[in-house]
């Protein structure tokens, strides 16, 4: 088990490095950061001065090495745009995104897994149809649209929930539902498919034949096996939610890390983008790593992988 974990960790770090290097190169191709910093009124002299001040005139590899060396000491520099330390900026924004991501994935799992299980027990029943409908609707409905509908109903017409901001727990209800609902269909269908497959397996028939109670058969024998791919999927979804909640954060004016990343790209705010990409990459890595470990615990056969 330890060897498995170490191997995974090494691989994970390599992935993080590669991601950060690729993003650094892409940002360099996207446009001269000196121009973005200098603003509309600057002339060539101002821009050259900024280029020298920030060291953009050095070779890209040197700049990357410089950035990496500082990042290793947890020094992510100053945001070109806000003129504030990137670490503070991200720490502040990340709390919103983390809250949203955790709530979103919990919402998705707590609705999708039970629905998937019920749908699998009674395939083609009314409840299966309803579950199918919900999942198709969730997949088909763009989240900005769903978000606006929720706002119109719950914030404007009923006046129950605040439409935007992040100052209380009520502010997180609609964003959680929107973000979670988007991740739900895939999890539900995977649960249903997994359950259906497992339920027709020999060992389930054996369990039933030896007289095990149905609840025990379903949850101890079937779900434990069916859930393995769901764990991996949920980990990826969680990573996606943290980095990709741009639309939701934008609609509900949450000012989280995803929105910050999106905006920082447009502003050519290199230090902020670089640090965020690294953070997001690390999240993906941590989650997939945890999923691997969890799966290895659930299924001993995977430990040799």
């Amino acid at each position: 088990m330890l060897r498995f974990i170490l191997k995974r960790l090494g691989l994970a770090l390599l992935v993080a490095l590669t991601v950060s290097f690729i993003s650094f190169s892409l940002l360099f191709l996207a446009g001269d950061p000196a121009i973005a910093i200098a603003g509309e009124s600057a002339n060539a002299k101002d821009i050259q001065a900024i280029r020298e001040l920030y060291g953009f005139d050095r070779p890209m590899l040197v700049q990357y090495a410089d950035w990496l060396w500082n990042a290793l000491r947890f020094d992510f520099g100053q945001s070109y745009y806000f003129k504030l330390p990137v670490a503070d900026l991200i720490a502040e924004r990340l709390s919103v995104t983390m809250t949203l991501g955790v709530c979103g994935i919990l919402f998705a799992l707590l609705t999708a897994v039970p629905l998937g299980v019920i749908a699998a027990i009674r395939p083609n029943s009314l409840i299966d149809r309803i579950a199918l409908f919900l999942s198709v609707a969730g997949q088909a409905m763009p989240s900005f649209w769903f978000g606006l509908i929720l706002i119109v109903v719950f914030a404007i017409q009923l006046g129950w929930l605040p439409a935007s901001g992040a100052s209380s727990w009520q502010h997180f209800i609609m964003p959680t539902v929107v973000l979670g609902y988007y991740a739900m269909p895939a999890i539900m269908r995977l649960t249903r498919a997994g359950m259906l497959e497992v339920l027709s397996a020999d060992y389930i028939r054996t369990a039933r034949a030896k007289g095990a109670p149905e609840g025990r058969v379903l949850f101890k024998h079937a779900l434990r096996n069916a859930i393995i791919p769901v764990v991996s999927l949920a980990a990826v979804q969680m990573g996606f939610m943290l980095g990709g909640s741009i639309v939701v954060e934008s609609i509900f004016a949450l000012h989280g890390a995803g929105y910050l990343a999106w905006e920082s790209i447009g502003r050519n705010d290199l230090p902020t983008v670089q640090a965020l990409i690294l953070v997001f990459a690390l999240f993906y890595i941590v989650f997939t790593f945890l999923a691997d470990v969890l799966n290895a615990w659930l299924d001993p056969r995977m430990r040799s992988a």
Partner: protein, 504 residues
């Protein structure tokens, strides 16, 4: 992303949301939304419209320009006169206090001017400050500002972007401290700043009796809400009192509903096509030919674009400046919409079957697409490329752009030098490089005499129009939407002034 959200969302919100709006008049708090995250509240370290709005609320300039008439009045200074071409002497208002309780004196003016004029301190918009060389104190309430060269637009800048900071506090806090905890003399004090997200202002009870007048609304609470539809939802659900920069289609629907006041006002931003007349991208490019540039001017139906797309108080523009700007002479050659004539001119230039060119833009895709289709209609086939601002700017500076759709807001400086001189003085963005224009602009920019200035701007603008270096297109406008409890009259310079807003 944004576009889809806008189109889809408007319909939903306009159709379904007919709830009763209730303003926060009871709490004496005006709740406003910004769309963009402001980088820093320190007005010398941001280049955003939102920054100007906060600047006018928190700080004061030495002078004040009446937003309707453009007339200069004393603000933190009470008298001013030019001692010579480069020395402006000002008498300061006595008894003014900063929000931190310190007195406003000549030391503050000297410190502020000397700090921002020093390029090494990195004020973002250098053009706003780099005309000043330094300031000198004569006594506690008399100062001199020395300009580097004769600079006739000085009064315009002193009543606009140049505001006065408290010397002791600024020296200690610096731009980042000022950005987080701003201190000024203005009608509103900043009581809370969450960078980019949330700003709370409170009425300055000790505000001096100046030309801005006393603020009436007690508190202003500004939140950044990036999505326009969410802003609309918030105003419908009574959580906002005023939104601005509302796109014209949304504003139209809101006006039809009658629940809110929708006010439209023009801005100083001008949209135009810049063409590579100097042949920087390629010495043989078609735009080096006068007939081709004239054809482009004739090819575009600006009237229809204004009527169908920009709407509101937008107008067509014929000059390389905004009409209200000093020196922006209007009697220049005009090019009415005439596609036939455009085709003839193209044939004369040796392109009877037209030609293909790259066409760039960085904002307002729908306007750029309309322009592109007008060009296609006369035979100029466009390879349309939409770029990020900094990427297009990079290409512009390298001279690699044959034709592009550009816009310029002049930083709300009501003087032609802020636009025509920015682009036609052989700088890296000058695609015309006309020596005659340069010579005229040099005279106009450095003369103190208003008549001389008008005359020479006139000659330069006439030559630019005759040579069709640009195709000036239209001015922009902006929509303000507020609840019936709020009374506000917008000004043509796109600056939201909280001190003039009142409750109905």
């Amino acid at each position: 992303m944004g576009r889809m959200m806008l189109r889809g969302g408007t319909a939903a919100i306009a159709l379904l949301a007919a709830g009763a709006a209730h303003a926060d008049k009871a709490a004496d708090t005006l709740r406003v939304a910004f769309t963009k995250e402001l980088e820093s509240v320190d007005s010398y370290f941001n280049s955003a419209r939102e920054g100007v709005v906060l600047q006018r609320a928190i700080w004061d300039g030495l002078l004040y320009a009446d937003p309707q008439t453009g007339e200069y009045k004393g603000n933190l200074a009470t008298e001013w006169n030019w001692v010579d071409d480069t020395t402006l002497e000002l008498k300061l208002r006595e008894g003014v206090k900063f929000h931190d309780g310190s007195d406003f004196t000549a030391d503050d003016v000297v410190y502020t001017v000397n700090f921002v004029a020093d390029e090494a301190n990195g004020a973002v918009t250098q053009r706003n400050v780099n005309w000043m060389d330094h300031a000198e104190k004569l006594d506690d309430y008399t100062v001199r500002i020395i300009t580097k060269e004769p600079f006739p637009a000085a009064l315009e800048y002193l009543s606009g972007p140049v505001s006065m900071y408290p010397s002791d506090y600024y020296e200690e806090a610096g731009p980042s401290g000022m950005g987080l905890k701003p201190v000024g003399t203005g009608p509103y004090k900043a009581v809370s700043v969450e960078p980019g997200k949330h700003f709370v202002l409170e009425r300055n009870e000790d505000y001096f009796d100046g030309p801005k007048g006393q603020p009436t609304i007690g508190k202003v609470d500004i939140r950044t809400i990036p999505d326009v539809n969410t802003q609309m939802a918030e105003i419908f659900s009574g959580q906002l009192d005023l939104i601005w920069q509302v796109p014209s289609d949304q504003a139209e629907r809101l006006a039809e509903m009658g629940q809110f006041t929708v006010a439209n006002e023009s801005t100083m931003r001008v949209g135009y096509l810049s063409m590579d007349a100097a042949g920087r991208s390629n010495p043989d490019n078609p735009f080096t030919k006068l007939e081709v540039r004239q054809a482009v001017n004739y090819a575009i139906d600006r009237q229809t674009i204004v009527k169908e797309l920009l709407k509101g108080k937008s107008t067509t523009i014929d000059t390389a400046c905004f009409p209200s700007q000093f020196g922006c002479v209007q009697d220049v050659t005009e090019y009415p919409y005439d596609p036939e004539k455009a085709r003839e001119l193209l044939a004369e230039a040796g392109y009877p079957d037209g030609f293909t060119t790259e066409f760039y833009a960085y904002r307002d895709r729908e306007y750029a697409e309309a322009i592109s289709s007008y060009l296609n209609a006369v035979g100029i086939t466009t390879d349309f490329k939409m770029l990020q601002y900094s990427a297009l700017r990079d290409l512009n500076m390298k001279g690699e752009v044959p034709i592009s759709f550009q816009t310029w807001g002049s930083f709300s400086i009501n003087d032609a030098s802020a636009m025509v001189s920015q682009f036609f003085k052989h700088g890296e963005l000058d695609d015309a490089r006309d020596d005659e224009v340069l010579a005229e602009l040099d005279i106009a920019d450095s003369s103190i005499d208003p008549e001389t200035r008008t005359e020479h701007y006139g000659i330069a603008l006439q030559r630019i129009a005759d040579q069709a270096y640009w195709a000036p297109l239209f001015s922009y406008n902006t929509n303000y939407v507020f609840t019936k409890e709020v009374a506000y009259t917008p000004t043509p310079d796109e600056v939201l002034r909280f001190h003039t807003a009142t409750w109905n």
